[in-house]
Amino acid sequence: MKKSALFAIIAVFVALVVVACGTPAAPPAVVQTSAPVIQTQIVEKVQTGAPVVQTQVVEKVQTVVVEATAAPAAKEKVLRINLGSYPDIVDPQKSSFVNEIAHLNLIYEGLTKFNEKLETVPGAAESWKYNDKATELTFQLRPGLKYSDGSLLNAARYKYSLMRNIDPHTAGEYAAITDEIAGAPEWRGADLSTISDEDLAKLQATVSESVAALDASGQPCKEGADGYAQEDCLTLKLTLSRPAPYFHTIMGIWVSYPAKQENIEAGGDIWWTSPKYQIGNGPFILKNMEPFVRARFEPNANYWGDKAKVPIEYAYITDSAVAFQAYKNNEFDIIGLAAEDLETVKADATLSKEANIYPGSCTFAVMFHQKKEPFTDQKVREAFAMALDRDGWVKDVLRGLGAPTLTWIPPGYPGYKASDSWGFDPDAAKKAIADSTYGSVDKLPEITDTFSDTPRNRTRNEWLVSKWKEVLGVDVKLNPVESTTYTALTKDQATAPQMFILGWCADYPDQQNWLSVYWKTGGFGERIAYSNPDFDKLVDEADQTVDPAKRADLYQQAQDLLIKGAPVAFMWNNVNSYLVKPWVTGLQLTPQDAGWAGAQVPTSIDIDASKMPSQ
């Protein structure tokens, strides 16, 4: 037993090692190159030698390629991106997460879209016009638009998508965003368990009139499949329940993306999982989608605009350490840069040049519940806001991945204006407490800081609490809760905590999304019981003003009013941070990038194969 058992064990180990190291480094499956001769030479070089030598040989080959610059890399040109988590659902009228939108933005296109400066520019519609009061919005679609399978795309398709978004049976997460359409809130809010079929049909008919697909002579397009095949059905007229001169911007987001009705019906509830039903009009075609593993997108030759130059592959690694290793191993071209890896990246000469850190689309603030003591008193809110050193926060807690802010709308977005109200001022903070109805810190009731219990949030909130102790001398209790519980609590005014960090990220680049949607009475600010009738009046007027300059000024007045009342402590704007390989060219970075650097304008991206290492 002694010798043979030992021998057997050693044999097993050796076998494992041989199997693991025997095959050379996994090259990509498809190798298409215009210079096969050079490719063969490189591959032959790599295959000789034992594993240790193999590494050295690879390095040698790399330097040879760089110096020569003549040999193109023996690799297929594809943009490999690690997106993060796999989407729950990729359906234009049901999706809401960034990773889901990252898929939709490639496959489809809306009536309008946003360029690299976040201006609303023509998409499928070549022009649009409001009536004088901005209660009617008419889109003129480009003639000859096609889906990726060659079939016709016209206004009837967009009518179907908008109707589907409002349809109560769809119950999409962003259904409320088209509530300006006349009849939409009523149809959307119909109680399906009690309403009669006739009443429901009436509500639907009202909306159908508000979303009118018209032909060249102004008559409604034909119904059903005939309508979809009608070539001159190129006008979409929207009737709005009140003036909304920003509505053309809303028509650029994913809720209007024209998924095909027949595909949705043929595929049923799971239509979105199959590339044969996800036929779109965007710059890319969904080639295949392997859940949790890969998704592949090919350029769409039938796209009306600038054709995409390279195919895109998404991977779904949620572990940032693994994604980072894979990036360094040249398995990804773009990944998200996690705060934990920032030090390593900054210290490395190559990686620091590949890091792209630029302003994002979100603002975060410490929310104070306006109806819970002591934050009912504005002076107390001011004091807590002025006790926070935002520069220190960005430097120490965010490790540089962020930017301090004292205002709501972030830089890069229309309506941004820097503010200096309620900034870090320890003396003023102490004075504000003295001026408040409580008079001094020991008269304040118990204050708790609630947050979702993750290691990152623990660090952040401990910092906040220590700052308030340091400057004001107040003891704030930390209250960590499980993450879904936290979301459930913060959703409702009655259960929302006294104080918690919350943010808002732009749905579309317009002040209306930041100010009216969030802070108007009944909007998202309702959770902390924020309600200011003067603010409501200003934004209502701004929402309905057609003149852009006057509109911008009204929104600015509203924002100034919001800041003056110190309802929350505006703290920081996020940054988009990505690592991008040097051979990825043509990136146009915008704050609204959904999921990866340059996502907003994907057609300009190309890969310079000569810069890639060949292995």
Binding site: M1, P24, A29, A171, A175, Y316, K328, T484, T485
Partner: protein
């Protein structure tokens, strides 16, 4: 034997029901629901929330509908969330059979997909073992073979060579296997084999080549390997000191025969005991392995479903795991009778 099997199989039903009840209670005790997402995202408004609740049957009573009973509606009395899921109830107006018919419910998060689609159905055009359950099953079996193939001989050798360098080496392996967390071990192996040696890619592009299965198998199986080695060693040491071994040697049997025919079979009984539940645990997938290697298994679904409050997924996966563990224990009990004839099934 047959009676034993039938009895054990019949016991499955009440056990599953109790597990379902406990899981259901705990699930609904946790605050928040499936539509409460990341706070920085736009939250569903009240109207949409109501429509979604109606669609998914969350507007029904949880256990028993007494309001329906007071109206004399016996069917309605049982048309509640729990019974709809387990046995059957009205879904979107139609009566649909529940868990006992193999309908594991609609996923609350991955809208449109049923749990059996997510977990048991392979992607288009692929074989049944390419489903999430299939992948986890394969990885679990591989990890078990790995652990047994190396752990048992290691334990045997270290018992036979007690207090020699071989014994100390196996002790080292066993201790590190039990103490080092598998996510540390995993990233360590990735860095060595993928980044330094370029033997495998960090992120496998396809799971068809057998090479990419090696690292996940090692990481998943290493803990069990360590346990098995220690257990085998301890068990062998005990058996080695038994009288019948001395008798066998006295009879003049060669050492190899003594070990193989007499020591091993008895020493393996404790190992077989842990093998059953260990296999069930391995098959149910590991969240960490799947996240780290982007492995398309079902362990990740189980863990994220809890945080997402995906009630159907939680119930379905818990019940499947309960079933697997019971079957594993049953199998282990049967194997005992072969290993030790003194043990009878009653």
């Amino acid at each position: 034997m047959a009676r034993f099997l039938i009895r054990r199989l019949l016991w499955l039903i009440p056990v599953m029901f109790v597990v379902a009840i406990i899981t259901f209670v705990l699930m609904h005790m946790a605050p928040g629901g499936p539509f409460d997402k990341d706070p920085s995202q736009r939250q569903v408004d009240a109207v949409t929330q109501k429509a979604l609740n109606a669609q998914f049957g969350l507007d029904k009573e949880e256990w028993l509908d007494f309001a329906a009973l007071s109206k004399g509606d016996i069917v309605g009395f049982f048309d509640t969330q729990f019974f709809t899921y387990m046995i059957g109830g009205t879904v979107k107006g139609q009566w649909r059979c529940g868990f006992i018919c193999g309908n594991l419910g609609l996923s609350f998060r991955q809208r449109g997909l049923t749990v059996q689609d997510i977990v048991l159905k392979p992607p288009e055009g692929k074989a049944p073992w390419d489903s999430k359950a299939g992948y986890s099953l394969r990885l679990g079996l591989l990890a078990l073979f790995f652990a047994m193939l190396i752990g048992v001989p290691l334990g045997v050798v270290s018992a036979l060579r007690q207090n020699t360098p071989v014994d100390y080496a196996s002790l080292f392996i066993a201790t590190s296997g039990v103490t080092v967390p598998n996510f540390v071990f995993g990233i360590f192996l990735i860095i060595i084999f993928a980044v330094f040696l370029h033997a495998v890619p960090v992120v496998p592009t396809s799971w068809d080549s057998p090479l990419v299965w090696i690292l996940p198998t090692i990481v998943l199986g290493f803990g069990l390997l360590a346990q098995t080695a220690r257990l085998t060693r301890a068990s062998m040491l005990e058996v080695m000191r038994q009288d019948y071994i001395r008798t066998a040697r006295a009879k003049g049997l060669g050492e190899r025969v003594v070990v193989w025919r007499h020591m091993l079979k008895n020493a393996l009984i404790p190992v077989v005991t842990i093998m059953g539940p260990a296999l069930a645990g391995l098959i149910t997938g590991s969240f960490i392995i799947e996240t780290m290697f982007a492995f398309p298994g079902w362990g990740r679904q189980f863990v994220t479903a809890i945080q997402q409050r995906d009630y159907s997924m939680i119930l379905a996966t818990t019940l499947i795991f309960a079933l697997l563990i019971q079957i594993a224990n049953m199998t282990v009990d049967l194997i005992y009778t072969f290993l030790d004839p003194r043990i009878k099934v009653n």
